[in-house]
Symmetry: C2
Subunit: 367 residues, 2 copies
Amino acid sequence: MKTIKLNLQNRSYNIVIGKGILKTRLGKFLQNLNLGNAAFIITNNTIKTKYEKILSGALRLSHIGFKLITVPDSEKSKSLETACGLIKNLADYDKKRKVFVIAFGGGVIGDLAGFVASIYKRGIPYAQIGTTVLAQVDSSIGGKTGVDLKQGKNLAGAFYQPKLVFSDVAFLESLDLRQIRSGLAEVIKYGIIKDPGLFDYLEKESHDCETSWIKKLDFEFLVSRCGAIKAKIVSLDEKEEKGYRTILNFGHTIGHAIEAAGNYKKYNHGEAIALGMLVACDISEMLGLTHKNTCLRIENVIASTGLPTKIKKISPRDIIKSHYLDKKFIGSRNRFVLLEKIGKVKVVEDIPLEIIKSALAKKTLPL
Amino acid sequence: MKTIKLNLQNRSYNIVIGKGILKTRLGKFLQNLNLGNAAFIITNNTIKTKYEKILSGALRLSHIGFKLITVPDSEKSKSLETACGLIKNLADYDKKRKVFVIAFGGGVIGDLAGFVASIYKRGIPYAQIGTTVLAQVDSSIGGKTGVDLKQGKNLAGAFYQPKLVFSDVAFLESLDLRQIRSGLAEVIKYGIIKDPGLFDYLEKESHDCETSWIKKLDFEFLVSRCGAIKAKIVSLDEKEEKGYRTILNFGHTIGHAIEAAGNYKKYNHGEAIALGMLVACDISEMLGLTHKNTCLRIENVIASTGLPTKIKKISPRDIIKSHYLDKKFIGSRNRFVLLEKIGKVKVVEDIPLEIIKSALAKKTLPL
């Protein structure tokens, strides 16, 4: 088991990573933190079926009551309507208790449950128990909570830190390949922006011919390395005001636009981010910031995982169109995180539209 | 014109108080703060009819575009549903603009609009332009935003500071007596908790026989004195975690319960707070914390304004019942702000229920 501290003065918390720790360690951590005597657990049916017994056992041993609510396992659950329903449900549960929230699931659950905890009574404590690679390496850490509006992803939300991030990598064993891949896109991102050693590890482990190698990766190592990077960046720039945190968006500006242009159906988050990173690499190469070979190394690792490397059935025009709705655009200006070399990226503003279009066209298969 | 600075590191802001300053000064303040080029104004129809022209003139002079949305002039507008509707409206307005929010109205508008600003894009800037005594002396300052749930007032919300509090006391001239009275309850509260001079002023100006004296008060003085106290307290304890801010709740624990037990119809906020303060005085006297004469002085000032001094048509039982839903109760413990002398209060926990019941009974007229 490994513990990483995220330093944020009185909002500091631990990220705990290990295998099989839900059963053996969670209760003790919650007891020590003294978050409350009643847990309002937000999860989905898949997770409930698999893990409710283990979680409820851990809570009972710690004398914590609980109520477990499920939401559909879909990005559609990240809505204001779902959040409002949960808040009302929480208020009903809260009578004469000291209640806290547990986000028990992937990125959708984490973002939604964190938002609910941030709003209820102007903020009650919550714990993130991520059950996917994406949640454990990225979304459960750092306090970005929120829901989507029809006008764009994460347009309503709050910066609100959890009191505990608890990542049991045993959850990852039962995930299917597509889900693991989606999370690996973020792992690759961490390698690119900050950790050449992590990138080298992925490159070394990867195979060209089949993708099952990704199930054999050392996830305790991956989750720890990514968690440490994210914890460092968040502690320097909690609210993305100082420029540091922006680099976590490598591949995300175009990635979010690809997700949106595909109506959140054609590509899942990780797949869209993989494509977004490749487009960002091409823009970097066109601007002379990085070398072609670096882009090729990244493309090879992405391809080996089975993540897409070409955009299919979405036109560059549609991506550009949705692009300007993305919240990363301030007024009419754009802002991209671009590549210099593995482990080093930089924020560049006002990229000419022609370059973005051209990079998109290069990565798009003819309709 | 008077400017009070509320110190909160990078979230510091000014409280500007003056007469006729909406027309002459607002534009300059907004321009200097550079909050954005598009204002999303949340107000109600009464305010719109009276002041839209002046406000829009000030914005136009500063080259700030705007969209003005009205919500019904009622506590019912402080709902999750209204907030969600406004957020969607705001997202529609936001395309390619740098948008900020203006709360233009009384306490309901301020709480609601601040909450909307806090959530949209995880927080955009907002300005508080309070148009009632209550808003100017209290609710527009300090960043407590929120909406009500059926389970209780302000159960969903955020601590989120405005970038400017702008109080034109000329707005107060057209208010009716009941609205002024409601705000004066909070002014009396400030005198009691922190400012004997302010209390003396009210005592000196008050008349026993008629209540029109309250229209002749020096509101620039009152708003400034209350604003200075609130600014100081909020800067010491922004999120009500250190005990300082709690004293602002003098009269509010019982007051909120009275409001709720009367279904928010029998008493408005100020009336309920006046009654809550009198009950808190009685509890303080019963516990030997304060002298009977002090309670009498407070009761006399409250009576002179025309605010109620006895609870009518609500039973102590109903108040106690709603009481435990109030968010100030942590688990099963209660917490009251009690009186020592004018200008000095203290926080006391675990008051025996019998004492609360007895104080309530003393202030309740037979059904």
